[in-house]
Symmetry: C2
């Protein structure tokens, strides 16, 4: 098997038959990225979803004033892409940039549709993943409405285990919607 890591991930959620795993494997392509390069930029026609084998990425967009807003990080075993652009057939508004040298597996949307048709076990796999993503995102909304910086940072560390030392402080602050100075103060207080 070329890519055992993604097979393991699938088996954590559903019970694929060997032929289901073989079909998925046949649709995957390997993508290597150097730190600081882009997987996606605004205006791109979105054609793939990506599974992270190794590395760390961030998805963000720039507002009218040129300020960036991070909406997702992805590390090992996460999927990343731009659903909105794909489903609604509009150009992407997102940047997806690697924070570390990264290795990804890509699947085209055309092949994903074939996968759903031929191996319905992946309907369930992606239904469960997107449900988890929906729940995390809802927690983030609640968190923004309610919590102070410390509580939000601790929740971030739970949602993204071990990422807090891999992502720059200013990127985490941006994601949480707080100032980098404020976040640094909170992180120091947690260490002491």
């Amino acid at each position: 098997m070329k890519y055992p890591v993604i097979a393991e991930h699938v088996k954590r959620y559903v019970s694929p038959k060997p032929k289901d795993i073989d079909l998925l494997q046949s649709f995957l392509n390997e993508v290597s990225m150097d730190k600081g390069t882009f997987l996606l930029q605004p205006g791109t026609h979105v054609r793939h979803e990506y599974f992270v084998v190794e590395g760390c990425l961030k998805a963000y967009y720039l507002d009218e004033n040129g300020s960036s807003h991070i909406i997702q990080f992805a590390v090992e075993d996460w999927w990343i892409g731009d659903f909105d652009a794909y489903f609604n057939e509009i150009p992407s508004r997102l940047y997806i940039e690697s924070i570390e040298n990264s290795r990804l597996l890509s699947i085209s949307y055309e092949n994903l549709q074939i996968l759903y048709e031929k191996s319905p076990v992946y309907e369930r796999y992606f239904r469960l993943l997107i449900t988890n993503a929906f729940i995390s995102q809802r927690k983030r909304i609640l968190s923004t409405l309610e919590k102070d910086t410390k509580a939000r940072y601790l929740e971030f560390c739970t949602s993204y285990p071990n990422i807090e030392n891999r992502v720059p402080n200013y990127d985490i602050a941006n994601y949480l919607g707080v100032s980098p100075e404020n976040l640094s103060r909170v992180r120091r207080s947690l260490k002491s």
Copy 2:
């Protein structure tokens, strides 16, 4: 058929066989709610998801200071429930309250699992719905980060067509995270 409205909704997303529709119908129960009553309150053990046949509801929670934060509205053809509480087997933190007299169809999570096993077409149906919900929620996060009240209100009117005259101004303001006075001003300016 007892509940044609939900069958029509399913057919908008997937191609069920008559037996798939029959199975779903056999699992549904009708729920009537008077305006101002609760479908769910914090601490409840969540056992059902609900499809709105007629009416309007809001899902919200109270923070430590007793302030309410609305996270979702539901009108005809929307599903509402508390995924987080169900999937993670924790008590609900949400209130779900009817804003109008409402008629809903409920399905228990146990029956939903049977539905997935016996009629995999519903794996796809719910995958597509949750993907749409994920995209709307992401837009809401972007919107909160970026846009002013007017742009947010117009986006709200697009996401929830025709709901703007059914929900009190203060509930919409709460959902958008702006003051009711600010929203009233914006709405007046749009009418003139």
